[in-house]
Amino acid sequence: MEVKKKQKWNMRRNWPLHILILPAVIVALFFQYAPMGGLIMAFQDYKPWLGFFQSEWIGFEHFHTIMQTDHARRVILNTLIISVLKLIFGLIVPIAIALLLNEVYHNVFKRTVQTVIYLPYFLSWVILGGILLDLLSPEGGLFNQFIGIFGVEPIFFLGDNTWFVPTVIITDLWKETGFNTIVFLAAITAVNPNLYEAAHIDGANRWKQTLYITLPAMMPIIIVVGTLSLGNILNAGFDQIFNLYNPLVYKTGDIIDTYVYRRALIDGDFSFGTAVGLFKSVISFFLIVLGYRLAYKYANWRIF
């Protein structure tokens, strides 16, 4: 029966599907694929006035330079550290908060908190950059005033190499958590209430119920969110870093994207910038293929 249906389907003409996909393909060809031709400059000593055809070919020299330049290596490491931390905390914290919110039975309170914590998600890093610079200022910044109450000396969150990365992670959490929390919370509310009832009768307390009922029920969505962000693994967040960093914290805070930007558009070294960008793409490519495989193997879930 099953087989028959599929055969029938295949006999149907699929040309409308091609037509429907075509416009998107054309736009992608123009704006995503055509510029990829520019990647050849990663293998050139590209001079804009000579163009792609006359610029000197230098093979993998830029890639050698990446591996040999202290700062370039540091930048790659920074990118990995920041993005992995973001990935981990970006999953754990919203889940935790969603679970906590689920324990709130006061509906107005619940809805207010829910509505309020998504707020930062809608603010751009341009705006948040301006606000954070102000809030985190060690001299009279609100946050330092606050921790000052507890006798803590002012901290230079955005200018200190020890503090910059935690600050980036936390501010990113602060911006994104509310949004993800709502996603997870929705998954929790979809859990069948009868399960809890049964568990309660069996004598399981609230914590046990969370552990054995709520979390397993959330697993699919956790895996989805996790695997989707795996593809972003090397995007440590250009917008955020660019609007928060300063030369003092290049050591820990400079990431591939900001480095590429500075090398290409500020220093005018287009080929080297492109080479670094290409390097990043190749690594992410392998990571996303890995993510795809893992998700399929362990969760039997196809990302696409």
Partner: protein, 292 residues
Amino acid sequence: MIYKTKGYRIFTAFNYVFLAFLAFICVLPLIHILAVSLSGSAAASGNMVSLWPVDFTWDAYDKTMGNDNFIRSLLIAIQRTVLGTIISMGLLLCAAYGLSKYDEEFKGRKWYMWFFVFTMLFNGGIVPTYIIVTGLGLGDTIWSLVLPTAINAFNLILLLNFFRTSVPKSLEESAFIDGAGHFTIFLKIYLPISIPAIATVSLFTMVFHWNQWFDGLIYMTNERNYPLQTFLQSIVVKKDLSNVTDAQELKNMSQRTVESAQIFISALPMLVVYPFIQKYFVKGIVLGAEKE
């Protein structure tokens, strides 16, 4: 079900306090910005404002609303958000319908899929993209903000997953048997059922367009065509103070109250839009994540 153990009650108390604190931290920056924007400029540049305006005045808002450049960039941002969302959603929905079929049903789907996923990973970088966009004559037009970002493979994947999970296969099959074609099924069955999904991804796209600043910086040769975030980025946030050689310039650069007013106004539209989409949103995102 209410639990009455002592431990749980203590937990509940802490939980309420903690969540309230969390909520407070999330609105605090906006309150601060609002307070600064309503304060006198001397108090603000002396960093003397925390959560309540000092020397209350509407001055900064008068100035902001009287600033043609600000208003113009605001309109451009609205225009780009609306146009960008419509175009992007149109393209993505059509494509997602096709790609929501299974490999067995639709030969060539796999190729299309990798074609789009590939764009998530590789891009030509700023300069080649710039050359193409300006080469097509799109430089300095709204199209340079709308078209290059129209295809977002991430959103495409979300949409096709929504389609796969929310449209009952049986409904589609019986429509086919009744002689309906792909176009009819797409328009009459898929789209109406997927309103939550469409609302969700539209929201993503709107937020993206509203908050995007870097492309405006590059493609808009005429500063007058900057969308709002680009305007804010170049004038409010990234200031170049080391080269300033006179007082007038430095003074006009550092009007904190006006900056705050502009920041506050620019944050408003997204805050207003969300509640309207919220009810679809929660539904949409959960459905999209369910296993097939």
